[in-house]
């Protein structure tokens, strides 16, 4: 997957992205990076808040932490999987869980993939885009500054 070395700031323009994260710093950083690249970012502090937001929102992508109070990312993905409208929204786990098997567990639970903290702003967007180009419906939406990735 060749992500252009200079990622255009408009790569996520027009994207509604829901970020679910209980830890304020992590949420702040994720929001900052995604906003920097043009996305409209919506936030939730846990799974329950996310479900509440999703009643009126249909984002293009959900990025969720796993360990959260009230409702974890695991419970959230379970709810999403059972909802006809929400089940088609790609969800990516963003977590500090980095033990062997964590990625497999996340994918088995229904997440499209798994990003491990800590990430720098650059690695975050690069890894995220790397995952997104694998998802056909999202790949086509990525704005590559005149170089449409989807055409390759």
């Amino acid at each position: 997957m060749n992500i252009p070395p200079q990622i255009p700031r408009t790569v996520l323009s027009g994207w509604d992205i829901l970020v679910v994260e209980d830890e304020a710093d992590s949420l702040d950083i994720a929001v900052s990076v995604l906003t920097y690249y043009g996305a409209s970012v919506h936030t939730a502090g846990n799974g329950q808040e996310a479900l509440h937001k999703l009643e009126t929102l249909t984002p293009r992508l959900i990025i969720s932490d796993l360990s959260m109070p009230v409702m974890s990312g695991w419970a959230l993905i379970e709810h999403l999987n059972q909802d006809r409208r929400l089940m088609s929204i790609p969800a990516i786990a963003l977590t500090a869980h980095a033990m062997p098997g964590d990625r497999e567990k996340a994918i088995a639970a229904g997440f499209h993939n798994h990003l491990t903290k800590p990430l720098t702003a650059t690695t975050f967007i690069r890894h995220l885009l790397n995952l997104l180009v694998d998802i056909p419906v999202l790949n086509e939406e990525l704005a590559w500054n005149g170089d449409s990735y989807a055409q390759r």
């Binding site: 830890e23 950083i29 990076v33 980095a98 903290k117 800590p118 990430l119 702003a121």
Partner: protein
């Protein structure tokens, strides 16, 4: 019909029951019914009582069961019939004698059967002669016996009559004193005579009894010598046979596991010794068995106890392992979360998200980021090491192209080397097969670790990567022209956090865990890592691993070798 079957049908068994009834020696053989019938008719003709005839006939019938044609005979079945005969006839003298012929017939060759048949016939002939001699003597003996019996019976039934005494009739008139005295004397004399007569009668009875007894003795003494020997031999065989039979039964029971079985003591010396020895053996066997059972029970209990202990220990160990895993997972998570904030914010600043930053601030932020990276590397390697030590690392065994793999390492590390003004060379032994079996990811981890160390500790010169094929092993050799390792340090550089100069760690971003991980992984692969070094000249690290070639590759190599030979 084969010869053997023919012989078998002729011989079948040789069994000679002998019975002594009411002072008469009767020999009955069922083996050869014709012969038995002859004996039977002879005996019958010689005035055997009807009781004797009946008993003989019964024995004949019973023993015939033993030889019923077509009936599969077994030791137990035969023994039951014999036992029945013993019970029914109280036959101290019932002999059960099974000849060698019948015992060995099944396993014998035709020649052996013929020999055994010969032996049996010889025995039979001797027996027949003895019997004939006895039968010839029989009338004589019988006659003598009859006379004695008649005489004794006569005595018993007709004791001698009391002597008749000429006594005058009793006087009615008064008797004169002298007459009265005479009468008293007469009465006394008569009583005396009656008493004497009674005593004589008793004597006669006793005498007749003794005569009866004598007749038996006389029979034994009177018969010719050959008969006595034959009878004694037969009786001896009977006793021996029965005692032997009892011992055999006991031995059978013992063999079948009934260790309480005991042979009765026998009056015959050899058999007595035999049964005593058998009993001794049985007793010691029984004692041994009891000891064994007891020891077994103790052992079983101990095993159970140990198993419980082991289960408990395993449970504790598993719990520890779970706790350790949980601790590692938590630590990893807890360390990563703040690190995420540090790297995240720093990188956001560097990205210029909040406006341009000056060069000084950029340098400082880059140091923050670099240290964060180092910290992350440390966390990752610590976790890796912990996983290896907790045996949570699984070494896979897949086929991989070894040259492609090391080319990747070379490409990846050359950039680093060149950035430091070093050259990185690669040399692969042509003898090394194309495909090897192993864990390419872990090999990469090990190879890159050695290469990055070599580059890190080398100021000038070159770093070389070489693969060698040595007999049943292959090795990855990383050589550098670096500072070298002091001899005292060679012993501990593979230990955790043991870098020779800690300043390097901070300067070069090393953690001091790479070599420990590499060595642990090599050992998990049944290999080893070794080092040689000379101060100021350089160091050589060698990973030696067992050479495992995929099956298809091995076949191909073999074929190629054959082809080479053919060409030669």
């Amino acid at each position: 019909m084969t010869l053997r079957r023919l012989l078998n049908s002729v011989i079948v068994w040789e069994v000679v029951p002998v019975l002594l009834l009411a002072g008469s020696l009767v020999l009955a053989s069922i083996v050869r019914p014709v012969f038995f019938n002859r004996i039977f008719s002879l005996q019958a003709a010689r005035d055997l009582s009807s009781v004797q005839e009946r008993r003989l006939y019964e024995i004949h019938v019973h023993t015939n069961q033993l030889f019923e044609p077509g009936v599969q005979s077994s030791f137990e079945a035969d023994a039951a019939i014999i036992q029945q005969l013993v019970n029914d006839f109280g036959a101290d003298l019932l002999i059960w004698r099974t000849g060698d012929v019948s015992r060995n017939l099944a396993a014998a060759t035709d020649v052996e059967v013929l020999r055994l048949l010969d032996e049996a016939d010889q025995q039979w002939l001797e027996f027949q002669q003895t019997l004939d001699a006895y039968l010839a003597m029989y009338p004589q003996v019988r006659g003598f016996l009859d006379q004695i019996e008649q005489f004794s019976d006569l005595l018993a039934e007709n004791p001698p009559a009391l002597p008749s005494l000429p006594l005058p009739p009793p006087a009615i008139n008064p008797i004169p004193t002298e007459v009265a005295g005479l009468r008293d004397a007469y009465d006394a004399a008569r009583d005396n005579l009656l008493l004497t007569s009674r005593l004589i009668q008793q004597r006669y009875v006793a005498l007749s009894e003794r005569a009866r007894q004598l007749s038996l003795v006389t029979l034994a003494v009177a018969v010719p010598f050959v008969i006595a020997v034959a009878a004694l031999a037969v009786i001896g065989v009977a006793r021996t046979g029965r005692a032997g039979f009892a011992i055999a039964l006991t031995a059978r029971k013992l063999a079948a596991g009934d260790l309480t079985a005991r042979a009765r003591p026998s009056g015959i010396t050899e058999l007595g010794d035999l049964s005593a020895a058998l009993n001794h053996m049985a007793a010691s066997l029984q004692a041994r068995q009891e000891e064994l059972l007891q020891a077994n029970a103790v052992l079983e209990e101990r095993v159970k106890e140990r198993t419980r202990e082991l289960e408990a220990a395993t449970e504790v160990a598993l719990e520890h392992s779970r706790l350790k895993s949980a601790f590692m997972a938590t630590m990893s998570h807890e360390l990563r979360t703040p690190l995420n904030a540090i790297t995240g914010y720093t990188s956001l600043m560097l990205m210029g998200i909040r406006g341009q930053i000056d060069e000084d601030a950029r340098r400082m932020l880059e140091r923050v980021l670099s240290n964060s990276d180092h910290l992350l590397g440390l966390i990752n390697q610590l976790l890796d090491l912990a996983k290896i030590e907790a045996a949570q690392v699984e070494i896979v065994n897949v086929a991989f192209d070894v040259r492609t793999l090391v080319s990747k390492w070379h490409d990846q590390m050359r950039v680093l080397a060149e950035a430091r003004g070093l050259s990185l060379t690669l040399e692969v032994d042509p003898a090394l097969p194309e495909q090897l079996c192993g864990d390419p990811d872990r090999l990469t981890q090990m190879g890159l670790n050695l290469l990055s160390n070599a580059i890190k500790f080398t100021q000038t010169g070159e770093v070389s990567l070489a693969l060698r094929h040595v007999e049943t092993n292959w090795s990855i050799i990383v050589r550098d022209t670096g500072v070298g390792i002091p001899p005292h340090a060679l012993n501990y550089i593979f230990e955790e956090f043991r870098q020779v100069d800690h300043s390097y760690t901070r300067e070069q971003g090393g953690t001091g865990l790479g070599l420990a991980i590499t060595r642990n992984l090599a050992r998990l692969m049944q290999g080893e890592v070794t080092v040689t070094s000379e101060m100021g000249v350089g160091s050589t690290f060698t990973i030696t691993l067992p050479l495992i070639v995929p099956a298809s590759e091995a076949a191909a190599t073999h074929e190629a070798a054959l082809h080479q030979k053919e060409l030669a």
